[in-house]
Amino acid sequence: MSDPSRDEERRLVDRAKRDPREFGALYDRHFQQIYRFVYSRVREQTAAEDVTSEVFIKALKAMPRYQDTGRPFAAWLYQIAVNAIADRYRTLRPSQPLEDFHDLSVGGPPIEEQAAERDEIRRIWSIVEELPNQQRTALVLKFQEDMKIEDIAIAMGKTPGAVKLLIHRGVSRLREESGALRPSE
């Protein structure tokens, strides 16, 4: 089965490569996810706006050089975003509490179990925040942005194997640093 959304994206990208004024459609399509990702990393609205602006302006200027490698266009935008955030991280560290961003709602179990579940998830994500930058970025792109390994590799400028290693190390580190995090039976 062909992927209509992917075909549509290719058409939009081709048009934007030929004529920058067509970039608006790509902006409309991807603004929300890029802004959400950026916000999740910088946790401050003004900073998120600054970085998001930088991402899309860089993307617009670089459109003529963009090569479709068969991966989603968003992977390239994430790549620009990852770099822009990295630049910003050199001087800035997010300070907003984790629970302000990650929606820790879980459905189904009794309220006591939900509370325990939320608490555990919150603790895991708080440890993610302490991971080395590369591991943290890989985990966010995988678990928050729900991206494929190959797309994360593009976004981070690494090989898929390196991304797998980062994720494995990151999750392993979470296990090591969360000794109290045992399965809730």
């Binding site: 089965m1 959304s5 608006g24 399509r29 603004f31 959400r36 993610v128 729900d146 991206m147």
Partner: protein, 722 residues
């Protein structure tokens, strides 16, 4: 986030504890962050302005000549030589008395879909005198504009109302008064035209990101067994899945995961659960056994011939054989429908949930059997190889070969390829070995949910989860359903496709969007299905679309067709289409049409869009109006009386508010020739547009003129050189 496991991670993590932590990470979702819409819009404007600047730079002739970049230095050097040569040459020549060449261009020239927010851009090949050039600019339709220059050669013309008018062909003229900075004056007007998009559409929704390589949780590897497999069965409360494993063992597994439980050791087939969920029937040893789940008691019913399908209708057990459909009566099995012979290659495949019809196969053909009358309907071509894929939840539609048909066998809509499961919420899952999609029963809204293997999905009764086959039986949380578009939007999509087919001259395709009554209406030739004549069918656009309370479930759409030669638009014809659908999950079809007399395209303000809600009507014109003349625009009831309303005018839009329109009553918008635009033009004859009063609750959804996009992909023929 689903909280369920992405198979891609199994390879990476391996260790169950790592997988558990990964699952926790996935279960925390990221809500939408605070967002200032003004920022989003401002950034878009900034990007578009940058894009314009880039385009200008890209189109510079010297850059084209000396591209690619590797030639830049050579080009620059050559430029120096050329410029120096030109300077030397011109300084040693007498002053030229020949005609100078002023080239005026615009990237928007001939475009069929200029965005409303874009300024009109005019490029000159030499520096222009601002004052005389601005004075020489004429915009038709009459539009009040502001000017902005970039580098003396590029002029941005921005309507002071902020946007261009929708659905409008603009004619831009640079008159003879325009001078270059060198003092040369153009002697003949330069013109170009373009057409704008429909009303500014809302920001495109971000397309949902497909889950990476799948999601879900494995329930068991005991299903599917090798050999014959029978579809899984959900419990009525969506908590349990029943399936027939190897050797005919009937087993159950909790939908949230857990150990399987064997209900019947062997020999079971064709499981079917009662709608109340209290009894599970199956065929075993040539008998139908009914297991009461609460007590574990089993009742047996000896039947011949052997059942080929089993199903429940309310609390009544039905089954089918190669001879017909049966139910258990007080005195034993009763045949309630008979399949016409021959019966040796025939078998009932499934009984509809409402018990009115059954599907049966004969050789490779598929038929519907009306249980009450015994009438049959053929699905697809006899002998063409036809696959039964299921029923709609109410049993009124059958799915086969990727088609949805009604009980007469008439095709209602088509689905993309995939294994079909139709939920109680009327969302269809399409599973395959490579991905999972959702689609609405009318064939629209195809959305990719996930990559990976999602074979033979089966919705849970509550539509919250579904099972599917990967390496075993898996369960996953159902994708969030995209809200179904408003009925008017669905109707507009049909109108758009119907009109495009007519514009393409493709009558076969256009007929697909007509009911029998609609075909009869166009068969009269007035209006013609495929407009013919001296003038070409240039474009079309929707003036309004509204639910019609006088005929529940129907939508009225007024569409204007524009005819002309080259870039000259000459006449328009308006049709009001009435669209209906047999039931809410079917696509709309055009059922009736009324056509107005052709109108010549003349100067003067034209209505290019109208939104209709119960308390307020907005009428969009293509030109800026003289405000005092707006009083000549009225709403009238069916008796010709003017409807009381508060009338306001701003930015080409006349607003009638404080209305108390009666649902389903007929009204008319009347534009008199005394309405004047800022160019002092007026229409020659009165313009009328009929509509009906919307339902009282149609506060905002009465009209969505954005959905039907005029045929922008097919640009108008090149106009004659200006």
């Amino acid at each position: 986030m689903s909280g369920e496991m992405d198979p891609e991670l199994y390879d990476i993590l391996g260790d169950p504890e790592l997988i558990r932590i990964a699952r926790k990470l996935s279960s925390a979702s990221a809500p939408e962050p605070p967002l200032d819409d003004a920022f989003k819009s401002a950034l878009r404007r900034e990007l578009m302005a940058e894009a314009w600047r880039e385009t200008e730079g890209k189109n510079a002739w010297w850059r084209r000549v000396f591209a690619p970049a590797g030639l830049a230095w050579v080009g620059a050097a050559a430029m120096v030589v050329i410029v120096a040569s030109v300077v030397l040459y011109t300084t040693n020549q007498p002053v030229s008395t020949g005609p100078f060449q002023l080239v005026i261009t615009s990237p928007q020239k001939d475009s069929g879909s200029v965005a409303l927010r874009d300024p009109i851009l005019v490029s000159f090949n030499q520096p222009m005198d601002h004052q005389s050039t601005e004075a020489a600019v004429q915009i038709t339709p009459a539009t009040t504009v502001a000017f902005r220059w970039s580098d003396d050669k590029t002029l941005y013309v921005q309507p002071t109302s902020g946007n261009l008018a929708p659905n409008t062909q603009y004619l831009v003229t640079i008159g003879p008064g325009a001078k270059t900075q060198g003092g040369n004056q153009i002697d003949t007007p330069k013109t170009f035209t373009f057409v704008t998009q429909p009303t500014a559409s809302p920001s495109a929704l971000p397309s949902p990101s497909p889950k990476s390589n799948g999601f879900g949780q494995q329930l068991t590897t005991a299903y599917p067994p090798t050999g014959t497999t029978y579809p899984v069965v959900w419990s009525a409360d969506s908590s349990t899945v029943y399936f027939v494993a190897a050797g005919g063992a009937l087993e159950s597994v909790p939908a949230k995961g857990g150990p399987t439980k064997t209900l019947v050791a062997d020999g079971a087939s064709l499981p079917a659960i009662a709608p109340e969920g209290d009894r599970l029937a199956y065929v075993r040893g040539g008998k139908i056994e009914t297991l009461t789940l609460a007590t574990g008691e089993t009742a047996e019913l000896a039947v011949t011939p052997a059942p080929t399908a089993l199903g429940w209708v309310k609390d009544q057990l039905y089954w089918g054989t190669n001879e017909g459909v049966y139910q258990a009566g007080p005195s034993g099995p009763t045949r309630i429908a008979t399949i016409p012979p021959p019966n040796d290659t025939t078998a009932i495949l499934s009984i509809a949930p409402d018990g009115t019809h059954a599907a049966f196969g004969r050789d490779t053909s598929l038929f519907l059997l009306d249980i009450a009358s015994g009438q049959t309907a053929n699905l697809g071509q006899v002998g063409a190889g036809t696959t039964f894929q299921g029923w709609s939840p109410d049993g009124s539609r059958v799915v086969y070969n990727g088609l949805i048909a009604d009980m007469s066998g008439r095709t209602v809509s088509a689905l993309p390829t995939g294994d079909v499961s139709w939920s109680a919420q009327n969302e269809i899952l399409l599973g395959s070995d490579t991905g999972l999609f959702t689609v609405r029963p009318d064939g629209t809204g195809l959305t990719k949910v996930a990559d990976g293997t999602y074979s033979r999905p089966v919705w849970a009764p509550d539509s919250s989860t579904f099972v599917f086959l990967r390496d075993g039986l898996w369960v996953a949380t159902a994708p969030t359903l995209a809200p179904a578009p408003a009925a008017t939007d669905q109707a507009l999509a049909v109108v758009n496709a119907f009109m495009q087919a007519r514009k393409d001259g493709n009558s076969d395709r256009a007929l697909l969007y007509l009911t029998d009554a609609g075909k009869a209406a166009y068969n009269t030739g007035n209006p013609p299905l495929i407009p013919l004549g001296d003038s070409g069918f240039k474009r079309f656009y929707v003036l309004y679309a509204e639910g019609d309370p006088s005929t529940p479930g129907s939508v009225r759409v007024a569409v204007r067709m524009v005819f002309g030669h080259g870039n000259v638009e000459q006449t328009t014809i308006e049709e009001t289409l009435s669209l209906r659908r047999a039931q809410a999950t079917d696509p709309f079809l055009v059922d009736a049409v009324t056509a107005a007399a052709p109108r010549d395209v003349t100067k003067g303000p034209q209505v290019v869009g109208m939104t209709i809600t119960a308390p307020k009507i907005e009428v969009t014109f293509d030109s800026d109006l003289v405000p005092t003349s707006v009083s000549s625009i009225t709403l009238q009831d069916s008796q010709g009386n003017v409807v009381d309303a508060t009338v306001n005018y701003a930015d080409r839009i006349v607003t009638f508010s404080g209305l108390r329109l009666k649902a389903g009553a007929h009204y008319r918008l009347v534009v008199l020739p005394s309405v004047v635009d800022v160019g002092s033009s007026h229409i020659v004859t009165e313009y009328d547009l009929d509509f009906v009063g919307p339902a009282p609750d149609a506060t905002s959804g009465g009209v969505t003129p954005t959905a039907a996009v005029s045929p922008s992909p097919s640009p108008s023929p090149k106009p004659t050189a200006s």
